[in-house]
């Protein structure tokens, strides 16, 4: 008797979140709540253009919120994670853990 293992967990991965840079951005923002552009660039070793592009994708999905302001005369952009971003990250981590269990052969199939 064969049992249906169900869809592979990899099918549950969200393309917007699973991309490794965006996943890293959400992870940093989940821990820090908010961070400015230079901190994210420094921590993830990204260029201005690369970071801006990935943040725009996340902001377009409503997963992060960008706030532009000034500190003195210096412009400063902050990114903060939204509740939807936290939920998306938590769901992604659950899928990754399910994949890990499957790879290690200890999960249910």
């Amino acid at each position: 008797m064969s049992t249906d293992p169900g869809p592979h967990p990899a099918l549950d991965l969200d393309d917007a979140v699973h991309q490794k840079t965006r996943l890293a951005l959400l992870t940093v923002l989940d821990e820090a709540e908010r961070a400015d552009f230079p901190y994210l660039k420094r921590t993830l070793r990204l260029t201005d253009g690369n970071l801006g592009r990935h943040l725009d994708v996340l902001a377009g999905q409503g997963l992060v919120e960008l706030t532009k302001g000034y500190e003195g005369r210096r412009p400063r952009t902050w990114a903060s994670i939204t509740p939807a971003g936290r939920r998306a990250l938590a769901a992604e981590m659950q899928v990754l853990e399910a994949l890990l269990r499957r790879f290690r052969g200890t999960g249910t199939t």
């Binding site: 699973h18 992870t27 820090a32 961070a35 400015d36 230079p38 500190e71 990754l96």
Partner: protein, 205 residues
């Protein structure tokens, strides 16, 4: 962050990234140094500083020390985190010290208004108060290392309180000054622990 999509490597890398952010927030070293200093100051208050006071004044000072010192410590941590956010561009996280301070002050207000005997913990088992605050912070901010320090402080504080109660009924309680020394040493150890935690945080950064 390395370029990988293999979950077996990705998950630990994301954990390291979280650890790096927590290191940049000084999540463990900052509360340890603040509460280490507060623990170090308590024997000073209990000894030389309140020596000239009458017994009543001394009791009020001891009763007020931990409730006020904890509020001061939490506010200091809150302002330090805000300063770091402005300087380094990293926020303090969802469970920040601003929330912790507000919750503590509400709890303290309720304790005072309802005249709950919890306040006397600060007098009869002085180390149990900071241990409880550190344990609450460790639980709230998911910090295992802070939790270990809270446990050590609580156990030592509980033991010191039991010894003090046992000695109160005896004629020879002259050794009680050792409890002061022990508290001072614990404060110093906590500040030393903060320095070690900071070194680990710098290594993770």
């Amino acid at each position: 962050m390395e370029s990988t999509t293999d979950p077996a490597r990705l998950v630990p890398e994301l954990d390291r990234l979280r650890a790096r952010v927590r290191a940049d927030q000084r999540a463990t070293s900052a509360p340890l140094v603040v509460f280490g200093v507060l623990i170090l100051l308590y024997p000073v208050l209990d000894g030389p500083l309140t020596g000239p006071l009458a017994a009543g004044g001394r009791h009020v000072a001891l009763l007020a020390y931990w409730p006020i010192a904890t509020a001061v410590g939490l506010v200091a941590l809150w302002f330090a985190a805000r300063h770091r956010a402005r300087r380094d561009g990293v926020g303090a996280g969802r469970r920040d010290y601003g929330h912790a301070t507000r919750r503590y002050l509400i709890a303290l207000l309720l304790i005072v208004l309802l005249m709950l005997p919890v306040l006397f913990v600060g007098v009869f088992a002085p180390l149990v108060w900071p241990a409880a605050v550190l344990a609450a912070l460790a639980w709230w901010r998911h910090d295992t290392q802070l939790g270990r320090w809270a446990a050590v402080t609580g156990v030592l504080g509980g033991a010191a309180a039991v010894l003090a109660v046992a000695a109160a009924g005896t004629a020879d309680a002259g050794w009680l000054w050792l409890v002061w020394v022990g508290q001072g040493l614990l404060g110093l150890a906590m500040i030393g622990g903060a320095a070690l935690a900071r070194r680990r945080e710098l290594a993770a950064g």
